[in-house]
Subunit: 235 residues, 2 copies
Amino acid sequence: MTNVKSEREEYLNKVNEIDFGNEAPKEIDSTDFFTVVKERRSVRHYDPSYQMTDNEIKELLEIAIQAPSSSNLQPWRFLVIKDQDTKQKLLPIANNQQQVVDASVVIAVLGDIKAYKNADRIYDELVEKGMMTQEVKDFYVGSIVKNYGNFPEEVATKVAMIDGGLVSMQLMLAAKAKGLDTVPMGGFDQAKFVEAFNVPENFKPVMLISVGKGVKAGFEKVRLTLDEVVTWEKY
Amino acid sequence: MTNVKSEREEYLNKVNEIDFGNEAPKEIDSTDFFTVVKERRSVRHYDPSYQMTDNEIKELLEIAIQAPSSSNLQPWRFLVIKDQDTKQKLLPIANNQQQVVDASVVIAVLGDIKAYKNADRIYDELVEKGMMTQEVKDFYVGSIVKNYGNFPEEVATKVAMIDGGLVSMQLMLAAKAKGLDTVPMGGFDQAKFVEAFNVPENFKPVMLISVGKGVKAGFEKVRLTLDEVVTWEKY
């Protein structure tokens, strides 16, 4: 036991020295896509008494997994942390960020670097639904197993991170569309997380996402201008 | 010059042996978030005569970059490929996937692994807007430069891929909300792409996204069930 905060913890919790005022996150009055995008913020202060049902959590995840993925292999895996005791266990691993315990749920997004092993099961469903012939399916699955199966771990991890990003964005937008708030967290001890939650070796952490009812609005969005991030035709 | 298709090219173009019929992608009758998510598909057949204005492209990107990112460093960089000659140049690099030339535009999403160098500029704006003090800003920027600046390339790349996934998802959804279609493409020769387009060394490819007016609907969504991808509390 120590009271000395790690540098990482100090960094992640410095945000609490900022006066966010008491204004709640803006309630959206419609589920219009452009409104949802505009009003989604990273919210770090949650109503600890607000609970989500398992069905509400499943609804969010069901929407999230409609995201596309490389060869439709859907490498995303989710660990849903909802019990208060489990959140308490996660708290120090996530550098004592209060939203871990105050939000209704923390969803750990992971990427399975062996997701190609599901190719047969996924492409079978395409055959069953009459979307491709057995022959085309056999070609796809053969290619996928050969190629993805031979990816160096670094390449497989990159794919899992990209697809993990896709599904995470859709999850956060879905939460906002349902009147909830989120914050994505990359600042946690991945090794300790994997150990504490017995995460399978081939599941690589993408991020943690707190989901719940925000009580203080997040920062106004500050973004680089398009001119700073967009180039036309050629560098 | 050779007529022998590479294995990768054969894999990526096998999809053209499938009869997609002539049904166009479903036109959405509202910009409701849940409708947009439901109707977004990976569309591979585009109307080559459909053009997007530069302003329409900028509008999509402006929406996309409202995504969150690690420490708000916004590592995403975009190369917009709109000229037909440039698309032709990209075509073989992207394994001759026809959507590269038929879609209105291809947006290459890249991740800057040195994005921390913009920390000062980004956090200055937070001070200017009264969202944090100079002292808090100095702490953040100091920490970011020290930490992100010391990331091994592999770690910096992972962060760039995750954030690149977030922004790509928001971009594809924004396109659908605007009545357009997209397809994310990971199957291209990254080394050749970097060379042909003179991509800065610190910009790592995330994906290519074709954007335009689809003429044939994409596959119906086939997804693993929630039970296959979700675990509760602990593995």
